[in-house]
C-alpha cells in the first residue's frame, strides 16, 4: 500500500502509529511496532517499497488511550484515570513514578535509534 502511494508521487509517505514498547499495544487494532529487530525486518519492506520518496514512521506510546489487550499491562498515565481506548475497557491507568518516566524516555530513544529516514513523534493521544 505504501509502495503504491510512493509510486503515485507522494514525496513523503508515513506509516501509521508505531508503538515503541510492548507495554503499549493498541490491540485489537493492527498498528506498527518497533519493539525489537524482528520488527525492523518487517518495516524494512515498507521503506524499501517507498524508496525514491521519504519514508516516515510515527513513533507512539499510547498510555491511557490504549488498553493493552495483548500485553495486559495496566497502561501508564500521568495519573490513574479511566481508560479511553475505543473499546472503553472498564480499567484505569497506572500513575507513573519518576522511574517510569525515565524508562519511557529510554524507550522513545531506543525506537529513534533504529534505522530510519524520518521520525514523527506523536503528541496527540
Amino acid at each position: 500500500m505504501h509502495g503504491v502511494k510512493a509510486e503515485g508521487g507522494w514525496g513523503v509517505v508515513c506509516t501509521e502509529y508505531c508503538s515503541v514498547h510492548p507495554s503499549s499495544d493498541d490491540h485489537p487494532f493492527p498498528h506498527e511496532s518497533l519493539w525489537d529487530e524482528g520488527d525492523i525486518k518487517n518495516l524494512r519492506l515498507i521503506t524499501d517499497a517507498v524508496h525514491e520518496s521519504l519514508a516516515g514512521v510515527e513513533i507512539w506510546y499510547g498510555g491511557r488511550s490504549t488498553a493493552n489487550l495483548y500485553g495486559r499491562k495496566a497502561s501508564f498515565g500521568p495519573s490513574s484515570l479511566p481508560n479511553t481506548a475505543l473499546v472503553g475497557m472498564p480499567v484505569q491507568s497506572q500513575a507513573m513514578s519518576p522511574a517510569d518516566i525515565c524508562e519511557l524516555e529510554i524507550w522513545y530513544q531506543a525506537a529513534e535509534g533504529l534505522p530510519r529516514d524520518r521520525v514523527v513523534v506523536n503528541m496527540s493521544s
Binding site: L69, Y70, R72, S80, L81, P82, G88
Partner: protein, 684 residues
C-alpha cells in the same frame, strides 16, 4: 486421593458414531480470539484442556469459505489445504492425551460481514445483516445452495485430513446459515427450501447427509442445534419447532449438541441465570426423541450436578465452555478426588467480552487462560521459589489473595495481612449485591487453597502501617490495598470534579458496601458504565426506594454489551421501575437537587430532586501505604503495588496482576519488559 465411586459414571467411555470418548467431559466449541491469527497460542490453549482431562476438546467456530468470514475476529479458518497445518497441530496436541478433537464448521451468512473478502454475504432471502453494518445480504439461488453444501463437504474432508474425530454441522446462536434457513424471519423462500418446516429443515438434512457420506466412516458427525431462542412466539421454541426439528432429524447425526440461542441466552451470566443446569428446561426433551448421544450445557462446575444430569437422562455428555475456561483441569480434579481444588466459573463473561472486543481470551478465575503459549503459563504448575526469602503481601482482595496463594505454591514463606476481619476485598463486598453472589467464588477458591498451604500465614484484622513494615525483616513487599470510589465525580466523561459535590453529602459504592442506607428519592450517576451502577440501582429498588439512574452514555451499563448483559440489564431496571435518563451528564449538584444536561445539546437541561445521590464514576488507587514505603525502596528487594492499588480495573485484571507478580518475584524478568511471546509473520 482417589475419587468417590459415585462419580464413576462421569468416567465411563461412550461411543459416538465411529469414535469413542474416554469420559463424559466435553468441551463444547468456544472461541478464544486466538484462532487463525495466533495458531500456536490456540494449540496450547486446547492442549492444556486435553491434559486437564476433557474427553472431547473442540475448536471454536471455524469459517469454511471466504464468502462468510468474520474479520476482524480471529476464530478458526479452514478454507483450503493451506489452512490444515495449524489444525493438525491442534489435533495432535489433543490426541497426545487420548482425547477426541472436534471441529465446528460454520457458514456465518448474516453473521459474517466479509470485511476481508469483500464478498456480498448471502442469506435465504435478501435482508439486512447482523450488527449495524450498512450492507445487506443477497438472496441465495439454487446454485448457491448447492455450493454451500459442497463447501461443507470440502471442509469436512479437510477436517478429517487434519485429524479431527468429530465434525460439526452448526445451527446455533443465530450465527449460522442453517439456523437462518430454519427461521421464517429470514427464510421467505417459496421454493423447496422455504415455507413449511420440512422445507426449512431441508438444507440441514442435506448437509448432514452429505457430510456423513463424505467423512462418516472415520469421523462422528455432530449437530449443534439451538432448540429455543427464548423469544416466545417470535422465535424458535423448544416445545414447537425445536421438538419437531429434532424429531425429523433424530437419528441422522451421530451426536446431538443442544442449547438455547442467542449467545446471550446460551452463555447467560450468573446475574441472569444463577443456577447451574439452567438450560435443562429447554433441552431435556431431546433424549426422549433420539437414541444418539446428547451433549448439553449449563455452566456445570459441580460433579454432583453432572452426575444428576446423566442419571436423570437429561444428557449423556457434560458440555462446558466457561467451566473449562475457569478450570481446564476440572475433569482431572474430579477424577483424583480433589473437588476442593476446582476453580469454579463465576459467570461474569469476561471471557466473552474479550471475544467481543477481538482480543485474546482471559478469565477472571483463571489468570493463565490465554497465556499458555504467550507466557508459557500452566494453570496448575508454577516454578519453585528462587530463595528462602520471606514475602509480605498486604491486602487480601483478589490481587493479594492470588499473589499470596501462588507465592505459597512456589514455596515462599508468605505473610498475608488483611486490614479487615474477612478475606475477599471487593469481591466479598460486591457479592452481597443482587445477582453477584457467585463473585464470592474468587475469594472462596483462594481462601481454601491458602488455608491448606502451611507456608502462608494469614493475619486478619491486621492493618499495617509503613513503620510496622519497616520493622519487619521481610524484604519482598507486595501491596494490594485496592481502590476507593471517587467522591468528586471524575470519571469517563468528567476530567474535573463536578460543581457542588464538595458541599453536599454524596455517597459512593464504598458507602453502600459499608452499610450506609440510601433514603427517599435516590439519584445514581453512572459514569463508570460497567455493572456496578445498575446493580446498586437494583438494590435500592429492592429496598423500596424511588430510583433514578442518569448516565452520559446512550445506554445503561453500556460496557456490559461485551458481557452480553446490556439488554437484560436495561430491561430489568425498567421492569423494576427504575427511571432511566441516558445521554445526560451531571452539571452541578446542590442540596437536594441535581442539574443535568443533554450531552448532545447542552442547553437542554433539567433539575432532578433527590434525597440521596450516589456517584459511580471512577476510583482512586488506595496506595497510601505504598507511597509511604516508596522513599524507603532501597531497603527492600521487591516493593510493588499490584491490582487495583496499582491501577483500578476489573476483578480479572487484579487477579492477573497478582498472579504476574507472584510468577515474576525473583525471576529474571525486568519489570519494564513485559515478557511475552508474539506470533509474527516471518518476512525473512
Amino acid at each position: 486421593m482417589s475419587r468417590d465411586p459415585k462419580y464413576d459414571i462421569l468416567f465411563e467411555p461412550l461411543q459416538i458414531g465411529p469414535v469413542t470418548t474416554k469420559n463424559r467431559f466435553y468441551q463444547v466449541p468456544h472461541c478464544n480470539s486466538l484462532g487463525h491469527g495466533r495458531p500456536l497460542a490456540e494449540v496450547e490453549n486446547r492442549r492444556i484442556k486435553a491434559e486437564g482431562g476433557w474427553g472431547v476438546v473442540c475448536t471454536q467456530e471455524v469459517e469454511i469459505h471466504p464468502s462468510a468470514e468474520i474479520t476482524p475476529s480471529f476464530e478458526g479458518r479452514l478454507w483450503d489445504e493451506k489452512d490444515i497445518p495449524p489444525h493438525r497441530l491442534m489435533t495432535d496436541a489433543v490426541h497426545e492425551f487420548g482425547s477426541l478433537a472436534g471441529i465446528e464448521l460454520v457458514y456465518g451468512a448474516l453473521h459474517a460481514p466479509n470485511n476481508y473478502s469483500r464478498i456480498a454475504p448471502m442469506s435465504p432471502s435478501a435482508t439486512v445483516i447482523h450488527g449495524n453494518y450498512p450492507i445487506q445480504a443477497r438472496a441465495m439461488t439454487l446454485r448457491d445452495i448447492h455450493d454451500i453444501r459442497e463447501w461443507h463437504v470440502n471442509a469436512a474432508k479437510l477436517a478429517r485430513k487434519a485429524g479431527y474425530d468429530i465434525v460439526y454441522v452448526y445451527a446455533g446462536h443465530d450465527m449460522s446459515i442453517l439456523q437462518h434457513f430454519l427461521k421464517p424471519h429470514y427464510n421467505r423462500r417459496s421454493d423447496q427450501y422455504g415455507g413449511s418446516l420440512e422445507n426449512r429443515v431441508r438444507l440441514t438434512r442435506e448437509i448432514l447427509t452429505a457430510v456423513k457420506e463424505a467423512v462418516g466412516d472415520q469421523c462422528a458427525v455432530a449437530m449443534r442445534l439451538a432448540v429455543d431462542e427464548l423469544r416466545g412466539e417470535d422465535g424458535l421454541r423448544a416445545e414447537c419447532e425445536g421438538r419437531d426439528i429434532i424429531g425429523m432429524l433424530a437419528e441422522l447425526p451421530d451426536l446431538w449438541d443442544v442449547n438455547v440461542s442467542g449467545w446471550d441466552n446460551d452463555s447467560a451470566t450468573a446475574r441472569f441465570e444463577p443456577m447451574e443446569g439452567f438450560q435443562e428446561k429447554y433441552t431435556a426433551f431431546v433424549k426422549t426423541l433420539t437414541s444418539k448421544p446428547v451433549v448439553g450445557v449449563g455452566r456445570f462446575t459441580s460433579a454432583d450436578a453432572m452426575v444428576s444430569q446423566i442419571k436423570r437422562g437429561v444428557m449423556d455428555l457434560i458440555g462446558a465452555a466457561r467451566p473449562s475456561i475457569a478450570d481446564p483441569f476440572l475433569p482431572r480434579k474430579i477424577e483424583e478426588g480433589r473437588l476442593e481444588d476446582i476453580r469454579e466459573c463465576i459467570g461474569c463473561n469476561i471471557c466473552v467480552a474479550q471475544d467481543m472486543i477481538v482480543a485474546p481470551i482471559r478469565c477472571t478465575q483463571n489468570p493463565t487462560q490465554g497465556e499458555e503459549w504467550k507466557r508459557n503459563w500452566h494453570p496448575e504448575n508454577i516454578q519453585k521459589a528462587a530463595s528462602d526469602d520471606g514475602v509480605l503481601v498486604v491486602g487480601g482482595g483478589p490481587a493479594g489473595m492470588e499473589c499470596a496463594m501462588q507465592l505459597g505454591k512456589r514455596g515462599y514463606a508468605v505473610t498475608l495481612a488483611e486490614a479487615t476481619k474477612t478475606l475477599g476485598g471487593r469481591v466479598a463486598l460486591e457479592s452481597q449485591l443482587p445477582g453477584l453472589a457467585s463473585y464470592a467464588r474468587v475469594r472462596d477458591y483462594r481462601e481454601s487453597q491458602i488455608a491448606r498451604l502451611p507456608n502462608v500465614q494469614l493475619y486478619l484484622d491486621n492493618r499495617l502501617s509503613a513503620e510496622d513494615i519497616l520493622e519487619l525483616e521481610i524484604r519482598h513487599i507486595l501491596i494490594a490495598t485496592g481502590s476507593d470510589w471517587r467522591r468528586d465525580g471524575i470519571g469517563r466523561r468528567h476530567a474535573f470534579s463536578i460543581e457542588g459535590v464538595e458541599s453536599v453529602s454524596v455517597l459512593t459504592p464504598d458507602d453502600i458496601f459499608s452499610g450506609t442506607k440510601p433514603q427517599g428519592r435516590v439519584l445514581i450517576y453512572d459514569d463508570d458504565h460497567y455493572y456496578l451502577g445498575g446493580v446498586i440501582a437494583e438494590q435500592c429498588r429492592q429496598d423500596g426506594l424511588d430510583v433514578h439512574l442518569v448516565t452520559p452514555d446512550s445506554k445503561v451499563s453500556s460496557w456490559t454489551e461485551n458481557t452480553l448483559e446490556q439488554e437484560k440489564i436495561q430491561s430489568r431496571l425498567l421492569s423494576l421501575g427504575v427511571s432511566l435518563t441516558t445521554s445526560h451528564e451531571l452539571l452541578r449538584v446542590s442540596e437536594g437537587s441535581a442539574q443535568i444536561a443533554n450531552v448532545y445539546l447542552n442547553e437542554h437541561q433539567q433539575e432532578i430532586p433527590f434525597d440521596t445521590i450516589i456517584l459511580v464514576t471512577s476510583r482512586l488507587p488506595a496506595d497510601d501505604l505504598y507511597q509511604a514505603l516508596l522513599p524507603h525502596q532501597n531497603r527492600f528487594k521487591t516493593l510493588l503495588a499490584i491490582g487495583d492499588c496499582n491501577a483500578p480495573g476489573t476483578i480479572a485484571a487484579a487477579v492477573y496482576d497478582g498472579h504476574l507478580a507472584a510468577r515474576n518475584l525473583e525471576s529474571e524478568v525486568d519489570f519494564y519488559e513485559p515478557l511475552f511471546r508474539r506470533e509474527m509473520p516471518d518476512l525473512g
